[in-house]
């Protein structure tokens, strides 16, 4: 199961500052585990940000993004109470999503 996500969206003038933390191991496929065997690649590949249901940011990332990825985004033209939704999909097909109202 996917680890929890944390999201925070605050209004700064007419721009929403969005911060998100995604609980994920982001395994590169280069690291050896305690048993001396290579830990297989396991990483988020796709990230999507929606404002009131409309896609505003679409990202593709590699295994070189740090473990438990933290991102900041900025969305102009947002209002207090607008809904920000963020979702991810990894290379094994696991996914997760979270949402918040802009404060």
């Amino acid at each position: 199961m996917a680890d929890p996500m944390k999201i925070r969206a605050t209004l700064n003038g007419d721009t929403a500052d969005v911060r998100v933390l995604m609980g994920h191991p982001m395994e590169t496929g280069q690291r050896k585990g305690p048993d001396g065997k290579i830990v297989p690649m396991h990483f988020i590949q796709n990230v999507e940000v929606k404002l009131n249901g409309k896609t505003v940011i679409e990202g593709q990332i590699s295994q070189a993004v740090s473990r438990n990825p933290v991102f900041s985004f900025r969305v102009k033209g947002a209002k207090a109470g607008d809904k920000i939704e963020i979702s991810w999909l990894d290379n094994k097909g696991d996914k997760n999503r979270t949402e918040t109202a802009i404060a």
């Binding site: 990202g59 990332i61 070189a64 740090s66 985004f73």
Partner: protein, 152 residues
């Protein structure tokens, strides 16, 4: 005759189920993840696979990152493109085994801004490529890494 036909049908059915079951997630990923670009082992190949040729150096791309990163496992990088109409931003760590780290598209009011934590195997130039109006603009910043973040 009938028996042969039945086995053939069964085999075909199994193959179909296998194919549809296995191919679906692959297809979904293939649509949204530029495998060729992310699997590229040199910055030049990554750029080519991103469709970014003939990049222009630009002072309008701002990269904020530590000059010296003590821990290569978590290197914070903040990027803002002031190139008008920037549609996408790509991040390339030139010395990483797979240099392309991220590619983000911005639309509908999203600012071409991104803060991201990355792993760096060793000291490297970090190159940002912004796409605007069909052209590619680039800026780079060198980050020195004390302890690499690719193994251990």
């Amino acid at each position: 005759m009938n028996a042969i036909r039945r086995t053939t049908l069964k085999a075909a059915g199994a193959a179909f189920l296998l194919a549809s079951g296995l191919l679906q997630p692959l297809r979904a990923l293939a649509a949204g993840w530029n495998k060729a670009a992310f699997a590229s082992k040199t910055p030049a190949d990554a750029l080519k696979n991103l469709g970014a040729s003939g990049t222009l150096e630009s002072k309008d791309i701002l990269i904020e990152a530590p000059q010296i990163a003590e821990n290569g496992l978590v290197v914070p990088i903040e990027i803002m493109s002031n190139v008008p109409n920037t549609k996408s931003i790509a991040v390339i760590i030139e010395k990483n085994p797979f240099p392309l780290v991220a590619q983000f598209d911005f639309m509908e009011g999203a600012l071409p801004f991104l803060k991201i934590n990355v792993k760096m195997g060793e000291s490297s130039w970090v190159r940002v490529v912004a796409e605007a109006g069909g052209k590619h603009y680039t800026a780079a910043k060198e980050i020195k890494v004390t302890i690499g973040g690719c193994g251990g």
